[in-house]
């Protein structure tokens, strides 16, 4: 049994298809990132999977239950961290998390939850005086306090500083150690890369690709070779094959290539011939961000063409 299933799901608002024939299946224990630009249909998809919206067409199942008809026991097994909500400012963090733990049959201890989200020191602080990032962590705490089997995280780290984001990631990783299935939406490519076993890219309400971070990266094809010319070197000395990769500053050679060995060989031979040091040379894998941008731009471009 898959933990999450979407089959040919569509949600229309009048003429607008917010989600258009989306299908995917997520087995138990997997972390999946739903990536896409603003308005891609990520939140609408999450809201259908959590029962807040009824699909116009298709079928959604979470823990083998249609979310719209999920009872108390089903809701106790599903956690949700919504994109933007308010919290009761006059309660302390501890009181608020305790309150939201009440309806669950087997909630995590409040101290444990606060530790997971990095809010142990703020337990007795009123929510109203917390920073935006700390409030977001309270959101996450409320989402996980019920020990969910399936957790939906709608942009869980938006607004967090890098350190807080990494703490949140650690908390999410801890949850997966207990077998929790997680579907998260995010704008942060590095977040998806760090956390997810699998990435579903959605744009214009449609699934553009459904793959692993590694596969997505390799789709970008080209690895990157970056070399900043040593002070003794002149751009004019570069052979034509390398000079074509000079950046606008005329000092940086940036090569996107599938033939890393061949390009490096040429660069090394040129440096040897001119007795130049290659210190600072960088050779990197294909960028996930480049891969993501290329896959979301392709369908958008083709759609625009088709509208002309």
């Amino acid at each position: 049994m898959s933990a999450i299933l979407a089959e040919n799901v569509t949600k229309r608002y009048g003429e607008l298809a917010a989600v258009d024939d989306v299908s995917f299946e997520i087995p138990a224990g997997q972390i999946v990132a739903l990536l896409g630009p603003n308005g891609a249909g990520k939140t609408t998809t999450i809201e259908m999977l959590t029962g807040f919206i009824t699909p116009t067409g298709g079928r959604v199942r979470v823990l083998d239950t249609e979310p719209r008809h999920g009872g108390r026991a089903w809701r106790a097994s599903v956690g949700l961290v919504m994109q933007s909500t308010s919290l009761d400012a006059d309660l302390t963090v501890r009181a608020l998390v305790s309150l939201f733990a009440q309806p669950y049959p087997d909630p995590l201890g409040v101290d444990q939850v606060l530790e997971l989200v990095g809010l142990t020191a703020e337990g007795n602080t009123k929510v109203g005086v917390l920073s935006g990032g700390q409030r977001r962590r309270v959101d996450v705490a409320i989402g996980i306090v019920g020990r969910p089997r399936v957790l939906f995280l709608d942009e869980p780290t938006t607004g967090l500083d890098p350190e807080a984001r990494r703490q949140a990631w650690a908390g999410i990783e801890n949850l997966t150690a207990t077998g929790t299935t997680i579907l998260l939406t995010t704008h942060y490519i590095e977040e998806a890369d760090h956390l997810a076993d699998r990435i579903i890219v959605i744009a214009g309400g449609q699934v553009i690709t459904d793959t692993t971070p590694h596969e997505l990266r390799t789709r970008a094809g080209a690895s990157t070779i970056r070399y900043e010319l040593a002070s003794a070197a002149s751009a004019a000395d570069l052979p034509a094959s390398l000079a074509g990769h000079l950046e606008a500053d005329r000092r940086t050679v940036l090569i996107h290539t599938a033939d890393v060995t061949g390009q490096l060989d040429e660069l090394v031979r040129w440096a040897s011939a001119h007795q130049l040091d290659l210190g600072g040379l960088e050779v990197g894998p294909p960028s996930l961000e480049d891969a993501y941008l290329s896959v979301i731009n392709e369908p958008l471009a083709s759609k625009e063409d088709s509208h002309v």
């Binding site: 608002y13 009048g14 003429e15 607008l16 917010a18 609408t44 959590t50 807040f52 823990l63 083998d64 239950t65 249609e66 008809h69 999920g70 009872g71 108390r72 026991a73 089903w74 809701r75 106790a76 097994s77 599903v78 949700l80 919504m82 933007s84 909500t85 308010s86 919290l87 009761d88 006059d90 309660l91 309150l99 939201f100 009440q102 309806p103 669950y104 049959p105 087997d106 409320i142 019920g146 089997r149």
Partner: protein, 272 residues
């Protein structure tokens, strides 16, 4: 539909309901405006209008206490409910295994008790400082009437809250609905030479019957609890009808931008 099994049983609803009442009560008590509006205004009115008199009129106490009670049960409750919905607090609760009726009822029960307390404070001030004769039977009659009236007004506010699209317009909307009703009820003083048709309308709305029932409980309860049947019946009808309508129309989620977008799209299609 299959439900997950093998987990500890869900908490019983009585525990959850009492937890919700405590939670809502705590929030209300930490809202200074709720106390200022519900208690401060009526007591100031009492002081300014009757400070010169040794004995305050029963009708005056009934009117001012109902004014504080209804401001709390209708305006404070309604505006807070809109704010909670539009900020996503209701939606957050809906995502939990808390039964929906438990949250809904928790809010209504809390505000009914809180508004009753607010009205009772005005009556107690009148009894303590302005010579209002208050027997135990009268006090009990007044409390019962207050609870029924607060339930009716809170249910009406819940219905109206679902019609208010944004928190910015909540306060004006509730005030606009509230003041005509409370003014023709005579809570803040009788309007001279009211036309008969206006009196007939006021008799059917939940303010004047509430004032008359409270005045009746204060006046005629020397031997036992005596509540005017017709007024109580009007309040009961408002409470029951209000609860049914509130349950039927209750909205958990903020109005979606997509709904506006949808409406625009439809208009464009129609125009085209």
């Amino acid at each position: 539909m299959s439900e997950p099994t093998g987990r500890p049983s869900l908490p019983n609803v009585a525990t959850l309901l009492s937890g919700q009442v405590r939670y809502q009560f705590r929030l209300l008590m930490s809202t200074p405006s709720a106390l200022i509006i519900g208690v401060g205004f009526p007591v100031v009115l009492l002081v300014t209008s009757d400070a010169r008199h040794a004995h305050v009129a029963v009708a005056t106490v009934a009117g001012y206490s109902v004014f504080g009670l209804t401001m709390t049960a209708f305006n404070t409750h309604g505006v807070r409910l809109v704010a909670a919905r539009e900020s996503g607090i209701l939606k957050r609760w809906r995502a939990t295994p808390l039964p929906r009726w438990c949250y809904f009822l928790g809010r209504l029960v809390t505000v009914a008790i809180f508004a009753t307390m607010v009205g009772a404070i005005t009556v107690l001030v009148a009894a303590a400082f302005y010579g209002l004769h208050l027997t135990a039977a009268a006090a009990l009659g007044v409390l019962i009437t207050f609870l029924l009236g607060a339930s009716a007004w809170a249910a009406a506010a819940t219905v109206l809250s679902s019609l208010v699209p944004r928190v910015e317009v909540a306060s004006p909307a509730f005030i606009a609905a509230y003041f005509p009703v409370i003014l023709i009820s005579g809570a803040l003083g009788q309007i001279s030479s009211e036309p008969r048709w206006l009196v007939d309308i006021a008799d059917c709305l939940p303010a004047k019957p509430l004032i008359d029932a409270v005045a009746g409980a204060l006046t005629h309860a020397s031997g036992g609890i005596a509540l005017p049947g017709k007024d109580i019946a009007v309040l009961a009808i408002w409470a029951v009808a209000g609860l049914i309508a509130a349950a039927a129309t209750f909205r958990w989620e903020p109005r979606r931008p997509a709904q506006h977008r949808d409406a625009r799209t439809r208009r464009q299609v129609k125009t085209a």
